[in-house]
């Protein structure tokens, strides 16, 4: 979190970033490296039923600078740096925060097989492996609920990757990196596979394991992630299994992200949590996409990682693409819970208008 004294520094960073974007070669240009930018601006209206209160306001979303380029024949670099406006709910301060989302060097040692070292997104599911932080690629205005509680979004480590192998375009990612609590002594392991049987379709599965010694720490999850209701500070084994099905580049667009976690503690044994996100959209002429979405999460009473929690949201939306670099999404969602005894989430409605853009 930044204080007022840092605001001048932030302005300088902003100026430098914009100079970099506008003075460097764009994507698809003739240079050996490219710089581009992504960002979004949104307006939200929320109505809470229990309190009969509403919240309304504009929000400046994440602004990202994206750099990529080749380093000789076999090596390449990719970096993604973001500036975020954040509000600290504990001390009610606000300000801009910078972060390195991705910074990695890729060594393409043979054919479509590579080794990647650095900070990267975990390949746990389609969303995290394809969309990253760029809202312009998101099919809906926000991420699945599982991102707030279950998924490790980032990882700092080493990965072996293969892609587009054989007729089914098989791909694999095997990775080890820092743990969810930032503990180097208990690295996390990820194995992910996928196939792309036709253009625009990808079917994948992944397994993630991490031994967490102190459950109170939340690292490598996204900035709004938190533990739903758990005060547990002890050790646990965290297993995450994900299945993804994505079908795009056809009029009927489908994305389904299923996640389940198995956490094991000495005191309460094995506990299971589930989450599933479903998006169905109908793309008309590459420009107009009405859609529906449904997303739920449920964690058990004996799940000491998150604590008991359940929430469901469903809604309708419309995406209007002005160009590949600019789109507008309008979305109405109903947030509620489906189990009144298991720490239910509050009921509310949310309307979001989101402009997302890319500069390339």
């Amino acid at each position: 979190m930044l204080t007022n004294s840092n605001s001048i520094d932030m302005k300088i960073i902003y100026i430098v970033l914009f100079i970099i974007i506008f003075c460097t070669p764009p994507l698809f240009s003739q240079n050996n490296y490219q710089v581009s930018g992504f960002g979004h601006i949104e307006h939200e209206f929320e109505y809470f039923e229990a309190d009969e209160e509403m919240e309304i306001g504009w929000a400046l979303g994440e602004q990202s600078l994206f750099v990529s380029g080749g380093i000789g024949k076999k090596f390449s670099y990719l970096g993604e740096f973001a500036i975020n406006y954040t509000i600290n709910e504990h001390d009610h301060t606000s300000g801009f925060a910078t972060s390195v989302r991705r910074a990695r060097i890729k060594y393409n040692y043979f054919g479509n097989h590579s080794v990647i070292i650095g900070q990267m997104h975990t390949p746990v599911n389609y969303w995290n492996d394809v969309y990253y932080h760029a809202r312009i690629f998101f099919p809906t205005t926000d991420r699945p609920l599982s991102f707030a509680y279950l998924l490790p979004v980032h990882s700092l480590g080493i990965r072996a990757q293969g892609q587009n192998l054989g007729k089914l375009n098989f791909g694999y990612d095997i990775q080890t990196g820092n743990s969810l609590e930032g503990d180097e002594l208990n690295p996390a392991f990820i194995g992910a596979v996928h196939i792309k049987p036709t253009d625009g379709m990808r079917i994948g599965a992944s397994f993630y394991y991490n031994h967490i010694t102190d459950n109170s720490k939340v690292h490598h999850m996204h900035e709004e992630a938190h533990l739903a209701s758990s005060d547990y500070e002890g050790a646990l084994d965290y297993h995450l299994i994900c299945f993804s099905f994505a079908r795009f580049e056809k009029p009927l667009e489908i994305l389904n992200e299923f996640s389940t976690t198995l956490t094991r503690t000495d005191s309460l044994g094995m506990a299971q949590s589930y989450s599933n996100y479903l998006y169905l959209g109908y793309n008309i002429k590459d420009r107009f996409t009405p859609y529906v979405n449904c997303d739920f999460i449920q964690s058990g009473n004996n799940d000491l990682r998150n604590g008991p929690f359940n929430q469901i949201k469903y809604g309708v939306g419309y995406k209007h693409e002005f160009s590949p670099a600019l789109n507008l999404k309008l979305q109405v969602e109903r947030y509620t819970s489906f189990n009144k005894t298991n720490n239910p989430a509050p009921n509310y409605y949310e309307f979001t208008m989101q402009f997302s853009y890319a500069i390339y």
Binding site: F110, Y132, D286, P324, A325, A358
Partner: protein
């Protein structure tokens, strides 16, 4: 006379069969699209192989050179034709496709050249580059020409 007519009809039939069959070798990708390459693995590819390469599914050639895609691509009707024939997409669809792929870090960004001459100029400078020309009036230099075989898709 009868004995001469029969071989001629057989030759004509076989010739027609070869011309219309999948064994034919064709110079261009389509009548309007030519493929050119500099220091890439082969001089002949099937339509399926070229589509796969141009969709960014191959990172490196077997000869060690990095794959660099150069498309004659802007906002005109010729680019519309290229987008439909190779990517089965609109111009915006192709841009979106590459924007997503590059952002994922899975492949290098292609170069969008303004015209055929620029494609050839860039191609000559970069080993491992494969380019697409649309409605090119002249014949591409023989050392850069990539033939398209329609035999195995």
């Amino acid at each position: 006379m009868q004995s001469i007519k029969r071989p001629i009809s057989v030759i004509v039939f076989v010739g027609l069969l070869l011309l219309t069959s999948n064994f034919a070798i064709c110079q261009n990708y389509t009548s309007r699209i030519s493929i050119v390459g500099n220091s890439i693995d082969n001089k002949t590819y099937t339509v399926g192989e070229v589509q796969s390469i141009l969709k960014g599914k191959i990172n490196n050639w077997k000869n060690g050179n990095r794959v660099l895609i150069v498309l004659r691509f802007n906002e005109d009707r010729k680019s519309e034709y290229l987008a439909r024939e190779i990517y089965n997409k609109s111009i915006n669809g192709v841009k979106k496709y590459w924007l997503g792929l590059v952002f994922q870090g899975r492949t290098d960004a292609p170069i969008f050249a303004a015209d055929n001459e620029e494609v050839l100029r860039l191609l000559k400078k970069r080993k491992g580059a494969i380019g697409v020309l649309v409605d090119y009036k002249n014949t591409p230099p023989p050392e850069l020409t990539v033939k398209i075989s329609k035999s195995r898709q």
